[in-house]
Amino acid sequence: MDLTRLTISEALEKIKNKEISIIELVRSYLKQIENLNKTIGAYITVCREDCERMGPILQEKLDCGENIPLAGIPMALSDNIITRGVLTTCASKMLHNFIPQYDSTVNEKLRHSGAILLGKLNMDEFSIGSSNENSYFGPVKNPWDPERVPGGSCGGAAAAVAANMACFALGSDACGSVRQPSSFCGVVGLKPTYGLISRYGLIAFASSLEQIGPITRTVEDCAIVLNAIAGYDPKDSTSANIKHPDYTAFLKDNIKGLKIGLPKEYIEKGLQKEIKQKLCEALTVFESMGAVVEEISIPMTKYAIPAYYIIASAEASSNLARYDGIRYGYRAEDCESLEELYKKTRSEGFGFEVKRTIMLGAYFISRNCYDSYYKKALKVRRLISEDFKKAFNDIDVIITPTVPKTAFKTGRKDDPIQMCMSNIYTVSANLAGLCAISIPHGTDCNGLPVGLQLIGKPFDEGTLIRAAYAFEKNT
């Protein structure tokens, strides 16, 4: 039996019944990483020794009857999620040697739940990119076809879960960085509602847009992980002080009467024919289960990519101002003045795409451009948000493709706007603070995974999980 193929719930069951031990499970994953990482490039750091140490400790606790919800489940985190004592690079030379002295809230929660950290995952440097070709540590390859990209920015996370190199992973999503790679790699990816998951210890890129989200193989696993990481955190002032439900209670194969909206703007030009066909098939499946599908209109979404681009660049240029070579990370040598130290450190430590984003962001918020770019984008954001609010008055869930085209070939990273276009269907959920999930739905003629996106009302992850689970069970 290949243990790396087990879902979280299957692995937990087998550990509980003593069919397998935690250390056997963990070693299977370490072996898989050893075999595949050279080809896929999903991991930047592998925590082999910590895994070997933690396995027996957790097994003993479990054998003594302790209740540990994720005991022994091997997982991995995108390298922009802070891990105490474990190298956290954000895929940048700037942080190539950074060993944090504190933990992100999500890692602390997962540790307390008994999950075992296999390692840290490759990504686009400082989350800037949609193909995972912008990493200081080299690109990530799509496990379905190594000549194609895994998507980004959390390409390593999606590729690792798809190639059975982690039972689940966490990434962060500012415009689709969890959902787009999940779609490209054929796995389940959730962007929770803004505020549901603590961002404490998430290295900031676009603070008003990004959320940490799980990447899993099944919808059930997604609900299990969400239970472990959701909740209010006083350390994050944008964390929502609400009580969240048990998401596994929504794993019901019943969506009778669910009202699903199909935005007509999402199925216009530029959509790959087979993805459109898959979407139509999905609608038939939902209708056969008793859901009601109706066409809706979200006219402002055509402005979502430009608004996102301005807001994210502006926030990134501000967030990345902290890297100065003084307190941690890369520091340029032979600098005589403080100003020279700042400039040389930042110019040598950041990759070109990151520097271009900082420059653009600073330009958008500069005196002459503030109103015409930045303020304009914030106004557009309000219009997009209101569009969705209106749509959700009459429906429960919105259905769209996750991406307009399946995974593209490597080597197209140079055009930033073109790159952003693969997030055209995912970005609005970030601007409007909604929750959204990408679930796999077959493959195209090249054998590449096709993804389906469901968007939900704020804090209504339960309905998303119910709809996604029912779909998964009936396809």
């Binding site: 950074f98 060993i99 002295q101 803004y194 505020g195 008003s208 006083p234 944008t238 402005y303 990519i305 430009p306 608004a307 681009y309 301005i310 240029s317 101002a321 100065d324 070579g325 003084i326 307190r327 941690y328 990370g329 520091r331 600098c335 005589e336 003045s337 403080l338 100003e339 130290l341 700042y342 400039k343 040389k344 930042r346 110019s347 950041f350 070109f352 520097k355 271009r356 900082i358 420059m359 653009l360 600073a362 330009y363 500069s366 015409s372 770019y373 303020k375 304009k376 984008a377 914030l378 106004k379 557009v380 954001r381 309000r382 219009l383 948000s385 930033p416 706007i417 409007a432 603070g433």
Partner: protein, 97 residues
């Protein structure tokens, strides 16, 4: 941002420096991106729309005014590229006089 001087001005504000070939590439890229954004957004009337900075709240949230444990000083200094007598070290910022 149309010319070399504009690029150098912004680069100076964000503490970055670029080679001549990078400056040329930035001029091209930034021109292309900003033109695209302007083309897309300028036709949309947003006259009386309130900007939306954030999803939920725009005010700061403060914690109570009490002391708590902070991170360990020695631990934090472990990541410092250069340190001296328990402090982060920087190049001299004042002249000797």
């Amino acid at each position: 941002m149309k010319n070399q001087q504009d690029i150098k001005h912004i680069a100076n504000l964000v503490n970055l420096s670029f080679s001549d070939s990078e400056v040329q590439k930035l001029i091209k890229d930034i021109k292309k991106v900003s033109q695209y954004l302007m083309d897309k957004l300028s036709c949309l009337d947003t006259e009386n729309i309130e900007p939306m900075e954030h999803i939920f709240h725009t005010a700061n949230i403060f914690r109570g005014d009490y002391s708590t444990d902070s991170l360990d000083r020695e631990g934090l200094l472990k990541n410092a590229p250069v340190k001296e007598n328990g402090y982060f070290a920087v190049p001299r910022i004042m002249d000797e006089n």
